[in-house]
């Protein structure tokens, strides 16, 4: 029997600066666990499935909090809470897509402490994995979701490779749609990674969801000005209306000319692959055209080409087609 709800002991460090946090991470490397809001971390700790020796509490690092306007757009500190993002005046005015998605994450209590960095770096929610089974993602040699009896209605349609877990984040597809850049700091310095490259699937690294190394820290997210004030659409479909992770979500950003002709478009879908999935075919379908119902439907239907459903997640195919259709239609209108 598994003992739950009793967190094993650890040593807690509370750095006040990014430099100190990076030094600590470099000292402890794989023994260290980064904690911000703690929503994902504490559920692992309570189940005693992750037992880090050292926990580095990032919440005292003031330079990682808040939304700043820059010459090229905005920079969101990775520790900024989802509530602060939902309420940020500049985000609501010019990058409403982020606020829309933030307001749909989990519950108010979780948004009040949950950070955007934690949301983007959160671990997979496959229930077999989260139960502590020795699956591929946990470093083992099996997948318990992709079996004849496996309960896999929440799992992947695309790009599965041994592991069939999906990206559970509502903010991740928004980052793809807005062409965000992730600012990562490590002992060797800073590197900036496009959102599309930040998230990685099991083919690249089956035990991690992002390309960040254990000794690195996501410090900020830059949103380019190019998408300020564009036309946006976000929708998330869940079993429950609150707290739940997305079955499928969609984030769309479009620019149209005065006549409504689409000049630029970026569309991304979450919950269908291990990474948020950019839907290039939908973008190409609507570029240079005015979006009507038929065109939106075509964009939606073409987006599911190549889907490989598991036993119980066929429903995600029409759901995804509909969300892409609504994303491009309602963003354009």
């Amino acid at each position: 029997m598994m003992i739950k709800d009793v967190i094993p002991g650890f040593e807690l460090f509370r750095p006040r600066t990014v430099a100190d946090a990076v030094t600590l991470l470099d000292q402890h490397k794989k023994d260290a666990w980064k904690i911000a809001g703690g929503n994902d971390s504490l559920s692992w700790f309570k189940d005693r499935l992750k037992r880090p020796k050292v926990v580095i509490d990032l919440t005292g690092i003031a330079e990682m909090k808040g939304v700043k306007e820059t010459a090229d757009g905005i920079e969101i500190g990775a520790l900024t809470t989802l509530t602060d993002i939902e309420n940020s005046a500049v985000i609501r005015k010019s990058y409403r897509l982020i606020a829309d998605a933030a307001s749909k994450v989990a519950s108010p209590q979780i948004r009040n402490v949950g950070s955007i960095g934690g949301n983007l770096a959160q671990d997979a929610r496959c229930w077999y994995y989260r139960t502590g089974l020795p699956c591929y993602r946990a470093g083992g040699n099996a997948c318990f979701a992709d079996t004849p009896e496996g309960q896999n209605r929440e799992h992947a349609l695309f790009d599965a490779n041994r592991c069939v877990a999906v990206s559970p984040s509502d903010i991740a597809p928004v980052m793809i749609a807005l062409d965000a850049k992730m600012v990562i700091r490590g002992a060797k310095g800073e590197r900036v990674v496009a959102a599309e490259d930040f998230f990685v699937g099991p083919r690249i690294d089956i035990t991690h969801m992002t390309q960040m190394q254990p000794e690195e820290l996501l410090v900020a997210i830059r949103i380019p000005k190019a998408w300020a004030g564009a036309r946006f659409y976000f929708e998330k479909v869940t079993d429950r209306n609150a707290w739940d992770f997305p079955l499928v979500n969609v984030a769309a950003a479009l620019r149209t000319d005065a006549g409504g002709v689409v000049q630029e478009a970026r569309v991304a879908i979450g919950g269908v692959a291990c990474t948020p999935r950019r839907i290039g075919v939908a973008e190409e379908t609507i570029k240079g055209k005015k979006v009507d119902q038929d065109l939106a439907q075509l964009a939606g239907q073409s987006s599911t080409r190549g889907a490989r459903p598991l036993n119980y997640n066929h429903f995600k195919i029409p759901l995804m087609a509909n969300l892409v259709m609504r994303g491009v239609r309602d963003a354009a209108s």
């Binding site: 002991g9 040593e11 929503n39 309570k46 108010p108 707290w243």
Partner: protein, 162 residues
């Protein structure tokens, strides 16, 4: 390993200190060291809202919140809402509207309603539902709870000092 540290914070208006273990959560701290049982761990994963505590005016799930995080913060539990014998308008409204049956979830709902009314003194129903979406009531007193929040808003608008 797991050295306890001393934290200082404001608890229901009083300055307090406590020795906390790194892995202790806020609900454990409030129950074990301060005898406050209004916030209780129920689901343990942030779904139910029973462990809701206000930290710097914002509702958090106390069972997912390390006690160390409270260092320097202003913490309010349901026990701290009344002043003397006078209940908070939100508490009065819950009683008058009978917005509970067993009462297990009530402290969480009341504290979340408090954050809502501090930020939006005159919320509409969709705003009320948005704010209360992280609190579950297994007795399903939801219609009365929404009514209680409306009533609390009216009481507070009449008595702006509360």
């Amino acid at each position: 390993m797991t050295t306890a540290r001393t934290i200082a914070f404001t608890l229901n208006g009083a300055s307090v200190g406590a020795d906390v273990k790194p892995h202790e959560n806020l609900v454990e701290l409030l129950q074990a060291q301060f005898g406050l049982t209004g916030a209780r761990e129920s689901c343990g994963q942030g779904m139910c809202g029973c462990c809701t505590v206000l930290v710097n005016g914002r509702a958090v799930s106390g069972c997912l919140y390390l006690a160390s995080f409270a260092d320097g913060a202003e913490v309010t539990t349901v026990e701290g809402l009344a002043s003397g014998d006078a209940l908070d308008p939100v508490q009065d409204a819950f009683i008058e509207t009978a917005a509970f049956q067993c009462g297990y979830c009530t402290p969480g709902f009341i504290l979340m309603a408090k954050q809502l009314l501090d930020e939006h003194p005159d919320p509409d129903d969709s705003m009320i539902r948005h704010y209360l979406s992280g609190n579950l009531c297994r007795c399903a007193s939801y219609p009365q709870i929404v009514e209680a929040v409306r009533s609390a808003a009216r009481r507070r608008l009449r008595r702006p000092s509360a």
